[in-house]
């Protein structure tokens, strides 16, 4: 087992390297550079050139790349031209928001998905199951951005139950209880929106797992021996079905990242997703590079963790 884990980690290294090179080259290919919009167009082009030279933009790409990587591993991702801040600081300020949102989203997702999936499987063909199937279908089919818009429109504006943008209302004392409540309130709508659609795969998986196991011989045997139904389900079936969810972690992260871009835009939530979009529009290389690298790494690590967890909790080696 450790062998597979070690091999997996070793495999990751070339992946990370290729990823970073790819990103770097991509960013370089973008038309226009940070100086294009910054400088007074009336300036002598020679001055702009010297500035470019000084910023190292004319060096061969591999030199620029190694410079970038060298700095990055020390935490220096360069300067953001948009905000005139070090990129690291910029991202650090936003990443907390996105992580908070992601956490809320994931918690709600599993709070809904696990009971719904398991119970729907157990009480197959009941009205509850039928409802879950319909809900599941919708959560697969409806695109996130449309759902988010409707949620925002209905609950944010029309019904005015939740705030419609930002992370916190202005004017509250930082650190006070109302402050945290308010922050939480701002997280609910976007988090709920993402969660409601994110349950799709998990519910489907759990439900079908429970149904499959339910029909297996050993369940019938246990029943005929007089073991109460609840015990069968709770002890054996549910637990065994739930473990492999951990293996979904890698793909969860990918979905969360892609989702955050959309959600943060719609809910005007200042997180990493919104920063990404803004930096692309502004052609702020340093930010783009850093973001894609970090997010790519996050996905890689997430997949790695889920693979490791999967090999540990391999359902074939169930401990009774």
């Amino acid at each position: 087992m450790w062998k597979t884990i070690l091999r997996r980690v070793l495999l990751m290294i070339p992946q990370v390297i290729i990823l970073s090179v790819l990103i770097f080259l991509l960013a370089k290919m973008m038309p226009g550079d940070p100086f294009a919009g910054l400088i007074n167009p009336n300036q002598d082009p020679k001055v702009i050139e010297t500035l470019r030279e000084a910023a190292g933009l004319n060096d061969p790409w591999y030199e620029q790349y190694f410079r970038w990587i060298g700095n990055a591993s020390q935490g220096d991702f360069g300067q953001s031209f948009m905000f005139k801040l070090p990129v690291a600081t910029l991202i650090a300020g936003r990443v907390g928001n996105t992580i908070a949102l992601a956490l809320v989203s994931v918690i709600i997702t599993y709070l809904i998905a696990i009971p719904f999936g398991l119970l729907a499987g157990r009480y197959q063909n009941s009205w509850f199951d039928k409802m879950v199937i319909v809900y599941n279908f919708f959560s697969f089919a409806v695109p996130l951005f449309i759902f988010a818009l409707i949620m925002l429109f209905a609950f944010g504006y029309r019904l005015d139950w939740f705030p419609t943008s930002g992370t916190v209302t202005v004017g509250l004392d930082k650190g006070s209880l109302p402050y945290y409540f308010d922050k939480f309130k701002h997280l609910i709508l976007p988090g709920l929106t993402q969660a409601l659609l994110g349950t799709a795969v998990t519910i489907q998986y759990l439900r079908s797992e429970v149904i499959d196991v339910k029909n297996m011989d050993f369940v019938r045997t246990a029943r005929s021996k007089g073991v109460p139904t609840n015990k069968i389900f709770n002890r054996h079936i549910f637990r065994n079905a739930s473990l492999p969810i951990a293996s979904q972690l890698g793909y969860e992260i990918t979905a969360l990242i892609a989702g955050s871009v959309v959600i943060e835009k719609i809910f005007a939530f200042p997180g990493v997703g919104k920063l990404f979009i803004d930096s692309i529009i502004q052609r702020d290389y340093s930010v783009i590079n850093a973001l894609v690298l970090i997010l790519g790494l996050a996905t890689l690590i997430g997949t790695l963790i889920s693979d490791i967890v999967m090999s540990i909790v391999d359902p074939r080696i169930r401990i009774q």
């Binding site: 992946q15 290729i18 990823l19 990103i23 991509l26 960013a27 290919m29 973008m30 038309p31 279908f137 919708f138 697969f140 089919a141 409806v142 695109p143 996130l144 951005f145 449309i146 818009l149 409707i150 925002l152 429109f153 504006y157 029309r158 419609t164 890698g250 990918t254 990242i257 892609a258 871009v261 959309v262 835009k265 719609i266 990404f276 979009i277 692309i280 529009i281 052609r283 783009i288 973001l291 894609v292 997010l295 790519g296 996905t299 890689l300 997949t303």
Partner: protein, 306 residues
């Protein structure tokens, strides 16, 4: 010693197991599925026929005087705005029809391209195994790990001459991987069956075996996968356009219409701009998805038959 039975007189047409006809038969038994199919057909027909009659340049022609005209009002030129106008005075209804046509065509193109690549590479990978399989799977693994949406957004910003085809190719370049993986594993299990060995001993070429022998046995999977994929691709395209990284702004599309809702004002006060497009996408995707799920169910039920 030939056994002549009564069946030779009544020529009964043999149904291929799990073939398209079999699936179709199961499909028609579900009322909801037929309903979705009909709805889908209506939308497709009206969109395509409608787009013939609408002049794109006229629709996208900016007319400031008609800014945010409400549905039912008349333009300066004397035409009626069936669904009102957007910020630039452009007819919403026209944009809706043409935009829908664009999204459908793009989704279709991407689905076809990714299917050809994904199924092809998947079968090749699963059949040959060994080095070829290793290489292809390494590439697949690598792409699956990337945050695809982010990379697509970056790509979209990078391309100099950006048009619809560039978009289609960029999307296709990344989304074939999931298909390849799926069909590889199916091919692996099929290739183990004796009829493949038999074909090899019969002297059939590898190419023939892969695509004349194995692929037909994957046909039910291909069909259902295609359908559900179609819906997903439309969803991704509209999402990207909504964010501003899909179709160029000058091309009418459902995504841009909905994109206007980013402004709170439009969201709350001028629903005619974004709501029709949203509803259309919803109905489109729901019906395609339902048809796809129904196909999946019909294919599965029959799979028990030896």
């Amino acid at each position: 010693m030939t056994e002549k039975t009564k069946d030779t007189i009544t020529l009964q047409e043999s149904i291929p197991p799990m073939g398209f006809r079999m699936i179709a038969r199961e499909f028609v038994k579900e009322k909801m599925a037929i309903f979705s199919l009909v709805v889908l057909a209506i939308i497709l027909l009206s969109v395509f026929i409608g787009s013939f009659f609408i002049d794109q340049s006229q629709v996208m022609h900016v007319s400031i005087l008609d800014k945010y005209a409400e549905p039912g009002t008349v333009t300066v030129d004397g035409n009626q705005f069936l669904l009102g106008a957007d910020e630039g005075g452009r007819d919403i209804f026209g944009q809706l029809i043409i935009g829908a046509r664009n999204s459908i065509l793009i989704g279709f193109a991407i689905t076809i391209i990714t299917s050809v690549i994904g199924v092809g590479l998947g079968i090749i990978s699963g059949y040959y195994g060994g080095l070829i399989d290793n290489i292809i799977m390494r590439i697949v693994d690598f792409i699956m790990i990337l945050p695809i949406m982010l990379i697509i957004i970056v790509f979209v910003s990078v391309i100099r001459e950006y048009n619809i085809w560039a978009f289609i190719w960029i999307m296709s370049a990344f989304y074939w991987v999931a298909k390849a993986r799926l069909f590889r594993s199916k091919t692996l299990s099929e290739a183990r069956r004796d009829y493949v060995s038999a074909s090899k001993t019969m002297g059939s070429s590898d190419f023939k075996i892969m695509f004349r022998e194995i692929m037909p046995n994957l046909s039910s999977l291909i069909i259902t996968n295609l359908t559900i994929n179609f819906a997903a691709n439309i969803g991704i395209e509209t999402t990207l356009t909504f964010l501003g990284f899909g179709l160029p702004q000058s091309v009418p599309s459902l995504g841009t219409l909905i994109g206007y809702a980013s402004s709170g004002d439009v969201l709350v006060n001028r629903q005619w701009v974004w709501l029709p497009a949203s509803i259309l996408i919803l109905v489109l995707m729901l019906s395609i998805n339902y048809v796809g799920q129904a196909l999946k169910r019909s294919a599965d039920a029959r799979q028990r038959l030896g």
